[in-house]
């Protein structure tokens, strides 16, 4: 199998970021919240490879830990979004009738306003913790997976082998997990990369707005927020985490594109 160079670059950086997230404590030269210098926003030096941040902490270490938080939240939210979205989507397609109507119209309603606005409304009353953020992001995004999963499952549901299983007298659980799931897996997996990117951008945006990961913990979006003030003094510290977010998203996108091209599938939206 020949992997196109673009996908190879994507795979390399995706793997790099994930490894950095997993082994963060081993790689980071200093602690995440450790103040290492009395000078804030020091330029990059051999001692502090990316310089120091707005409180005199080592920016590189903070970014390595921040990447861990970003990737963890995005992964967890993607998993929630996929399990709820695809199971409900399959369920709606198999059961059909009013269950399908009710679920589909409810999803239409949620998708009729931007997820960010809805998330802000919800976050104005709930406590802002990592768990709450993951659940909110996961459920809001599950609507998109639902649409895709339902569309795929409706097609599969009329296949001969599903008919045969129904005539054999298999229950709904069997139909969903043994007949539809294995056949719907490849378009769903291709979509997963795109949902992951969306989650990375979503949590980064929330944290950047001060409504995501709360200090002293920080993810990449939060680190951008912390150092944003420096920009007007000509200090580019906030650009590093923002570039990290983009390179992660672009790499995953390159990989997802390649997977998408290999599997003929439907595409979900963004927004």
């Amino acid at each position: 199998m020949r992997i196109p160079p673009a996908a190879l670059i994507g795979l390399f950086f995706t793997a790099l970021y994930f490894l950095m997230a997993i082994f963060a404590p081993l790689i980071a030269p200093y602690g995440m919240a450790e103040v290492v210098s009395n000078d804030i926003w020091l330029p990059p030096s051999s001692e502090f490879l990316l310089g120091t941040d707005n409180l005199g902490r080592d920016l590189l270490s903070r970014m390595i830990y921040g990447g861990r938080t970003t990737i963890f939240i995005a992964t967890a939210a993607t998993l929630i979004s996929f399990t709820t979205g695809s199971i409900l989507g399959f369920f709606a397609a198999v059961v059909g009738d009013w269950v399908d109507q009710a679920l589909s119209r409810f999803v239409d309603l949620i998708m009729s306003i931007p997820s960010l606005i809805l998330a802000l409304v919800i976050l104005s009353v709930t406590p802002i913790t990592v768990g709450v953020l993951i659940v909110i992001m996961g459920f809001l995004d599950a609507t998109r997976v639902f649409r895709l999963a339902r569309a795929v499952a409706v097609d599969i549901n009329v296949m001969d082998y599903v008919e045969a299983a129904k005539l054999r007298g298999e229950g709904r659980g069997w139909i969903i997990f043994r007949e539809i799931l294995p056949n719907a897996l490849s378009p769903l997996v291709a979509e997963m990369g795109l949902r992951f990117i969306f989650m990375v951008l979503f949590i980064s945006t929330l944290s950047f707005l001060g409504l995501g990961v709360q200090p002293p913990a920080a993810d990449w979006g939060g680190i951008v927020k912390e150092n944003a003030e420096g920009i007007t003094y000509g200090i580019g510290a906030a650009l590093y985490p923002a570039i990290a977010i983009s390179t992660l998203a672009i790499s995953v996108n390159l990989v997802a594109d390649w997977v998408l091209n290999r599997t003929t599938s439907l595409k979900g939206g963004r927004g």
Partner: protein, 319 residues
């Protein structure tokens, strides 16, 4: 009644129904979830009497359905309530800021729409050649880049290093003359333009390419027409409906972009107002802003649908 009027009436009714349901969703989202407004205003040390008084004053002791309809009728009369944190009238505060936000979005749209259509046409003309590939690459990148990165990069290099435009929108005054205002918000407008441009370009390209598959395009090609003539005279008129659809959908996307961009550039608009009051947990303000954002979003989507109905000749000239 002609079918087209019926279809339009249906679509508009559906939009209104959707808006009504969204208002319930926004209201319910802030009611059903745990959390007590009175408690968060007065703090943990408040006496039970003070809490009860404040709840009665805010109407919190009424059943949720009654509160919802009170709120909704207030909205219809232009009364959005008062902000809990400042005690100011929300409608007045929003009135000023909504104008600012629309100013920003208007200029972004004026620049982005023609540019996107032109570049989309260019991509179709030079399909699979370098201009098309370049446009695709830029699109891929811009989908993966958060709005605030574009914002800070422009602020850092153009605003601070080159000093062409003010790095933040702090100097923006709504009553200044147009040129002063535009120069104060040049960077936010540029960011918003870039944010929607890529999507619009990509979708315009797809819409026109779709038309290019038609048989009459092949006929035009076989007649020996020049590529640009084919696109301009045959493909473009037939893709006006999908392109307008694309434009409207992307303008709706500005709704999200504007929230982030206003925070980046400290611009006194609706987005900044909303974000500010989410962290202060000022629920009446959040509800009002959420409803307005939702209404604009649904409205633009509605216009997109209406235009595609109107532009469809099969519906305009029924048999």
């Amino acid at each position: 009644m002609s079918p087209i009027v019926k279809l339009l009436a249906q679509r508009i009714a559906l939009g209104l129904l959707l808006l009504f349901l969204v208002s319930i969703l926004i209201f319910a989202g802030t009611i059903v979830l745990p959390g007590d407004v009175a408690q968060s205003i007065l703090g943990q040390s408040a006496t039970p009497e003070a809490l009860a008084n404040l709840r009665a004053e805010l109407g919190l002791d009424e059943p949720p359905v009654a509160r919802y309809f009170n709120w909704l009728f207030g909205v219809f009369q232009g009364d959005l309530g008062t902000a809990l944190t400042s005690g100011q009238d929300i409608a007045t505060a929003i009135g000023k800021r909504l104008g600012n936000t629309l100013f920003l979005a208007f200029w972004a749209a004026i620049i982005a729409v023609p540019l996107a259509i032109f570049l989309g046409l260019l991509a179709v003309r030079y399909r699979e050649r370098w201009p098309d590939k370049l446009i695709s690459a830029v699109t891929l990148a811009s989908i993966s880049v958060p709005e605030f990165l574009i914002g800070y990069i422009l602020m850092f290099f153009i605003g601070v290093k080159l000093g062409w435009f003010p790095p933040t929108a702090i100097s923006y005054r709504p009553d200044a003359d147009l040129l002063t205002k535009l120069s104060a918000v040049a960077l936010p407008i540029a960011v918003l333009t870039l944010v929607v441009l890529a999507h619009m370009m990509r979708m315009t390209r797809a819409a026109i390419l779709n038309v290019m598959q038609s048989a009459y395009i092949e006929t035009a090609e076989l007649k020996g027409l020049r590529m640009f003539t084919i696109i301009w005279r045959h493909a473009f008129p037939n893709s006006v409906a999908p392109v307008v659809n694309v434009v409207m959908l992307n303008l709706a996307y500005l709704v999200v972009g504007v929230v982030v961009v206003e925070v980046v550039f400290v611009y006194p608009g609706m987005g900044g107002y909303l974000v500010d009051h989410v962290s202060k947990r000022d629920i009446p303000v959040v509800q009002a802003c959420g409803l307005i954002f939702a209404a604009v979003y649904i409205g633009l989507n509605l216009i997109a649908d209406v235009v595609s109905i109107l532009a469809n000749p099969r519906l305009r000239h029924p048999k």
